[in-house]
Amino acid sequence: MAQDNPDLHVLGLGAQDTLEFANEFVASGDLANSAITMVWDPNFASWRDYGIRSQPYWILYDDQGTEITSRPGAIDLGAVQAVLDA
């Protein structure tokens, strides 16, 4: 999705487990070669800041930094595309 939409910046913000697991996750999903920026938070500070209590979870912001929608579960590609097309 990120490769098909160069104007969309996808930031993968991981937490829980260990850094070793996080690196294995990225390698197994071939995410290192994707257009997704992958980071890992070792102490949950970012998740707490966002109020995230379950995963996966996603939040979509427009180009003005305004939150458009946020949902738990798999990413709704249709909803994301609708925002990009608007």
Binding site: L13, G14, Q16, T37, D49, W58
Partner: protein, 132 residues
């Protein structure tokens, strides 16, 4: 001195002037003006000086004013220099999403960095994930 014909001509011209300027004047007046008129005819010659006035509008005056007009044209050029306002460019900077300022590990480099440093212009999808 003057020839008789010219003297007669000046006297006739003086009479003509007196007749046009004061039609009801007495003859004595006309004679007196005739003598005065002779003096005026000396000035009346200005008929010949009139062409001199015609030459006045010659381009010499325009040439003298011409240098002043270029000076005024150069001044506006300097006046246009202040139009170089670069401030609008700063207004074109895109809004960037503000992310929490917390330390995270970049899985591309393995280095710690502020999460906010990964913010980019444009629409952003933040995906929360866990390895397990």
């Amino acid at each position: 001195m003057r020839s008789p014909t010219r003297r007669a001509a000046t006297a006739a011209f003086a009479l003509a002037l007196a007749a046009t300027s004061c039609a009801g004047a007495s003859s004595a007046d006309t004679t007196s003006t005739a003598t005065i008129g002779s003096a005026e005819t000396e000035v009346a010659a200005p008929a010949t000086t009139a062409p001199v006035n015609e030459t006045v509008p010659a381009p010499d005056d325009s040439a003298s004013t011409a240098p002043s007009t270029p000076e005024t044209t150069t001044e506006p050029e300097t006046a246009t220099e202040p139009e170089t306002t670069t401030e609008p460019e700063t207004a074109t900077t895109a809004a960037i999403l503000q992310l929490p300022s917390v330390d995270v590990v970049s899985l591309a480099t393995g280095e710690m960095a502020d999460l906010n440093s990964f913010s980019r212009p444009g629409a952003t999808l933040v995906w929360f994930w866990a390895p397990h």
